[in-house]
Every structure is written in structure tokens, then in C-alpha cells.
Symmetry: C2
Subunit: 351 residues, 2 copies
């Protein structure tokens, strides 16, 4: 029996409804195993701006720091999207949270579930058996470098910066992951153009000696964007910097047939954060059509992070059960769709 | 009857063999229409480094400047790829050529040929009818900003910079293209994170008033990487900055079923450059298996640029003829493949 504090950040759009189902599943796990999960919700994103003027209120940040793990729904609202000059934007909350919590590694497993192959835009034989993990650097690069306008107002700049230290700490994680999987690591970069990419290659090449069992490939990002579609099965562990990781991991998500299935973990220092890779999907808000599985699988990753492996395995089994029995929202089950809540109930009940 | 000077840069790997076929086709056009095309070859890329130590020798640059148009094969050699610290690399020649000739717009049409749908990794219904043009900014952004190592040797940086002027000149081209097509323009950026992207949005939003017939969408690059695969038919004209364009346009190329079919034009000042989008593919060098069609279609774009529209149309017809009759290299015709030269001969003969 364990006792854990989980800060829940439901966020915007469909965030709250998918989070509710994941919380329900975590509660079912707690009951079944006799654990105590103290789960409390805090505002972040557009809802936090509306309520406090700040996308990441101090209270929210403090609660995350004090928690054993953070579960996030999704953030973002169209009313901020089309105003690039807005001084306060929902994303700033997420970016600041990543930085403040030191979440330097975003981990995204991409799995092509057999039962969902018909839903993928890719031909079945290209993707069947795809099983990769993408390690995206999350607190460096062009996201966090100096940015601004030139003095004459005629230009803008964004600086991409990386240190050896930033590269090494996530590269070690990726190497270790590869060592425990199919022993292949692919570094995605643009070493023929960028100096930061050349630094990544240098470091990874040097570190490779420490992991002799891992075969390392180097792939230019433009080529990676093609290979991801042409032959995704070739990948085991992909390691890449922040901006390329943002693009490549979202691209990879289409393989699975639905974004609604893909979880992610952001780790680094003590507290880790778990969230579905999909966005806040405001058009679907409140309609009961949002797929809660990505958030529920994020909760499974959260359990693993807390070393509750048996519990995590049970959540995964319950999700498989829903997949195998077609207990799915309408993007995956057009003939007899289940609602967000029904999917959550089914999975929680199974536990 | 016209007389034109075309500088040919065959480059490395399969570059020379595919260029040879395109030159043959241009010669057939000249004969048929009584034109005079003065075509001379100059070294650039790895072959130029080997011969002169310089990936873009002065003689080559001067010849390009003096020409009416430039036809390029492909550059790059594996011996330079895995040495990120090499001071001289083939790509530098291409990047410098783009900059020196002021080729600020890279234009890539992406067409899903019906007959090649079975070769695409994407399901037929997703891509049939895809017809888009990507306008990629080519002489700015992170490619050409300051780059280097920090003084302590522990870090590296690449600066991304854009001016309003750089954005406007290519945006005008993209708007004009959209106006003459299906009247949709999609700006791909990362305006929720990057200041340069916010400048792009500001400019494009302002310019949109001048093109009231064109509907403008704004798409974040991570979402664009998904939409490109989920529903490529939604795109008409895509406009984007240099680095995102590199990734997104290569990703888009998989739709067509083969990179061996896709041409590109790089334009800006007087002289324009035409090249297939594929690379130097060194493993295929000298085997007669390289598909010359992308280079031949690049030659067709070159003819259009010289306002030889009837001539260009004839080249396209000849290519269609090859496609429809299966006169194709082995990646597209596995049962009875034709060689690079046979495909070139067929197309030239048809003209
Ligand atoms: C919301 C946005 C700032 C964020 C990012 O680009 O990192 C998102 O796209 C993601 O991938 O988590
Ligand atoms: C060779 C390389 C520098 C180049 C680029 O990144 O621009 C290539 O990938 C391209 O797209 O033409």
C-alpha cells in the first residue's frame, strides 16, 4: 500500500473530460490495490489566464512541485491562437512548467495497434509491428533561447542554443532505453547545416562507446520526415532536439491511426508530468466524443514512473480490452460509438 | 527560335546520370523547336571539393551568374556525411550558390499521379487528387544566421533571423500562385513559440488584404506534419520558412510514391535553378537504376521559367507517356524495369 500525491491539471477544451476518466481509472487502481492517491486539480492554460491572468499561477506550480507526479489534460484555446501578438498565451504556462520542473526529456512511445490498422492513413504492411519510442529534448534549443524583435522593428530572431550537458543527460536516457529494447538508437538532426546539430552528433558519437550493445544511426531531419512514413518499422529509439522532436513526434503519431491513443511522459528532475499528445481540441469540448485512452495510458506511464508496475500493466490490459471489444469513441468506432465517459467507465470497471 | 545558356551542375552520386538524361531531353526540345541551348557542365559539391578543395569553385559560380538558368543534379557524398566537424562540406556549395544567386524561393509542386498510387505508402483514398505547391524560403532563417561554438567549448548556437522584407518577397509569390490555383494559402509556422513565426504571421495577415480572393490558413508546423499525411488534399499552396520547408516538403514527397518524380525550382533574382528534390543517392551510382524523371521535370520547369511553355508542355506529355506505359526504373516497375538511360531515351525520342 502506497500513498501518493498527484497534481491534476485538466487544462482547456477536452482536457477536463479526458482527465476525469483517467482520474477515475487511477481511483479504481487505488481501490483495487489499497493505495491512496491524493488527486487535486489546479488551473493551467487558457482557463488559468481567464481566472487569474496567468497561464501558470503560483499555486499550480507549487502544487506540482509538491506532488509525486503531475497528470495534464491539454491546453490551448482558439481565442489565443490567432493573436500572435498577445502578451499572455496558454502555451507559456506549459513551457514555463517544463522549465521550472526541469522536465528535459519528453518520451513518446508510438505503437501501431493491430486492431486499429484500418484507421491509419498508411498502408497496413508499412506499419504493422511499428514500435518505437521518441526521446525529445524539452527544455532547450530554439524554444528557450533569446527571442525578440530587432531595434528597427523590421526583423525578429529566435536563438537556438545547446550545451553538451543538456545533450548528454537526455542521450543517456535514450541509450538506456535502447539497450533495454531492440538496441538501436537513431539521432535525428540537421548536422549538414546546424552547428547545434554537429554538437549533438559529437556528443552522441562519443557516448556510444559507453553503450557498445547499441547500434547508433544518424539521420538528417528531412530524411527522417520521409523515413517515418516510408518505413516506420525501422525505428527503435529516436533521439532528437526540441523543435525537431515536436515535428517528428507529431508526424509519427499518425501511424497509430488516432492521436487519441498516444500518451507521453516528460521527465527530468524529481517530479514527472504525464499527458496525452493530442491538443485541447476545442471543437469537441463537452460533446462526449473525446477519446480518453491517451490520457488513461499517460496515467499508466505515471504509475510506472511511481514504480507501480503491476498497476500499470493492469491499466494497459484494461485498455486492450476496450480496444479489442470496440469500446471506443467515434473516430475509431463509427458504427456504434461509445462516449468519453462510457469508455472511461468500461476501463475503470475492468480494473 | 531562341538561344539560351544553361549551366549544368551534375554534382555527385547519381547526379551526373540523371542530368545526362535531362540534357538529352533539352537537346531534343532544341532540335524540335529550332532553339539553341548552350549547355555546359561545371563542378559543384563533393566532386568540386575533390578536384579543387572548394565545393563551389569561382568558375562554377561565374558560369551560373552568366547563364539564363541552372540545372542541378544532386550533391553529397557519404565520406563527408559522418564527419560533422569537417571544415569543407558539399552542402556549403549549394547553400552558398543559393545565397549568391539570391534564390530566396524554393518551389516544389507535389502531385499524386494516379498511376503511381499503388507505390505510395499512403492509402489511395487519402491521396488521390493531391495537388499542392510548397513555397519554401531558401536564403534566410536558421540556415544563414550566425552559428558557432560558445567560448568555453561547452555549447553551440544557431541563430534564426527573418526580416519583413524577406518574408514579403516570397509571400507575394505564394499569394500570386494561390490566386492562379485553388485560392488557398496555408502559412506553416510555430507562432505559439517562435518570434520569427509571429513576424511571418503578421506580415502574411497584412498582405492578405491585397489578395482578397485568397483564403489564408495558419497552421502550426507540428500539426502540419500530421495533416500532410492525414489529409494532403486539403492543401493548395503552402508557404513556410527555410527549416520547416526543408522538413515538410520532404515529408510531402512521400505522397507521390517516389522521390524520383519530384522536381523543384529555386527562384529569386534573374537566374533560377532547377533540381530534382532527391539527393545524390550514392548507393545507386552507376547502376542505371536512378529515376531521371524528377530531373527531366525540373528541366520542364526550367523551360517554363524561360517562357517556353509549349516546349515545357511537350516534356510533361512525354513524361506522362513514360508513366502510362510503365517505362520506369525499378522502384516503380519491379517486373520489367527500364534503365536510367532507357527512360531518358524514351522521353527524348517522344519529343
Ligand atoms: C503547445 C506547444 C508549445 C507544445 C510544444 O511545441 O512543445 C506542443 O506542441 C507539444 O508538443 O507539447
Ligand atoms: C543539402 C541540404 C543543405 C539541403 C537543405 O537542407 O536545404 C537539402 O536538404 C535540400 O532540401 O535542398
Amino acid at each position: 500500500m502506497v500513498s501518493k500525491k498527484i497534481a491534476v491539471l485538466p487544462g482547456d477544451g477536452i482536457g477536463p473530460e479526458v482527465c476525469r476518466q483517467a482520474v477515475k481509472v487511477l481511483e479504481a487502481v487505488a481501490t483495487r490495490f489499497g493505495h491512496r492517491f491524493e488527486m487535486q486539480s489546479y488551473p493551467m492554460g487558457a482557463c488559468a489566464i481567464d481566472a487569474t491572468g496567468n497561464p501558470l499561477p503560483d499555486e499550480t506550480l507549487d502544487a506540482c512541485r509538491a506532488a509525486d507526479a503531475v497528470l495534464l489534460g491539454a491546453i490551448g484555446d482558439p481565442k489565443y491562437d490567432n493573436d500572435p501578438s498577445a502578451k499572455v498565451r496558454p502555451e507559456q504556462g506549459l513551457l514555463r512548467l517544463r522549465k521550472e520542473l526541469g522536465l528535459f526529456a519528453n518520451i513518446r512511445p508510438i505503437t501501431a495497434y493491430d486492431i486499429l490498422l484500418p484507421h491509419s492513413p498508411l498502408k497496413q504492411d508499412r506499419i504493422q509491428g511499428t514500435d518505437m519510442v521518441i526521446f525529445r529534448e524539452l527544455t532547450g534549443g530554439i524554444y528557450f533561447g533569446a527571442k525578440g524583435r530587432t531595434d528597427d522593428g523590421e526583423g525578429a530572431y529566435d536563438h537556438c542554443v545547446y550545451s553538451r550537458h543538456e545533450i548528454r543527460r537526455i542521450a543517456h536516457m535514450a541509450f538506456q532505453s535502447a539497450a533495454g529494447r531492440r538496441q538501436r538508437l537513431t539521432l535525428v538532426d540537421k548536422a549538414n547545416v546546424l552547428e547545434t546539430s554537429r554538437l549533438w552528433r559529437e556528443e552522441v558519437r562519443e557516448m556510444a562507446h559507453q553503450y557498445p550493445e547499441v547500434t547508433v544511426d544518424y539521420l538528417l531531419v528531412d530524411n527522417a520526415a520521409m523515413q517515418m512514413i516510408l518505413n516506420p518499422k525501422q525505428f527503435d529509439v529516436i533521439l532528437t532536439e526540441n523543435m525537431f522532436g515536436d515535428i517528428i513526434s507529431d508526424e509519427a503519431s499518425v501511424i497509430a491511426g488516432s492521436m487519441g491513443l498516444l500518451p507521453s511522459a516528460s521527465v527530468g528532475a524529481e517530479v514527472a508530468l504525464f499527458e496525452p499528445i493530442h491538443g485541447s481540441y476545442p471543437q469537441a469540448k463537452g460533446k462526449g466524443i473525446a477519446n480518453p485512452i491517451a490520457t488513461i495510458l499517460s496515467a499508466a506511464m505515471l504509475l510506472e514512473h511511481l514504480e507501480l508496475n503491476e498497476e500499470a500493466a493492469l491499466v494497459r490490459e484494461a485498455v486492450d480490452e476496450a480496444l479489442n471489444n470496440g469500446v471506443l469513441t467515434k473516430e475509431l468506432n463509427t458504427t456504434a460509438p461509445y462516449t468519453t465517459e462510457e469508455v472511461g467507465n468500461y476501463i475503470a470497471f475492468w480494473i
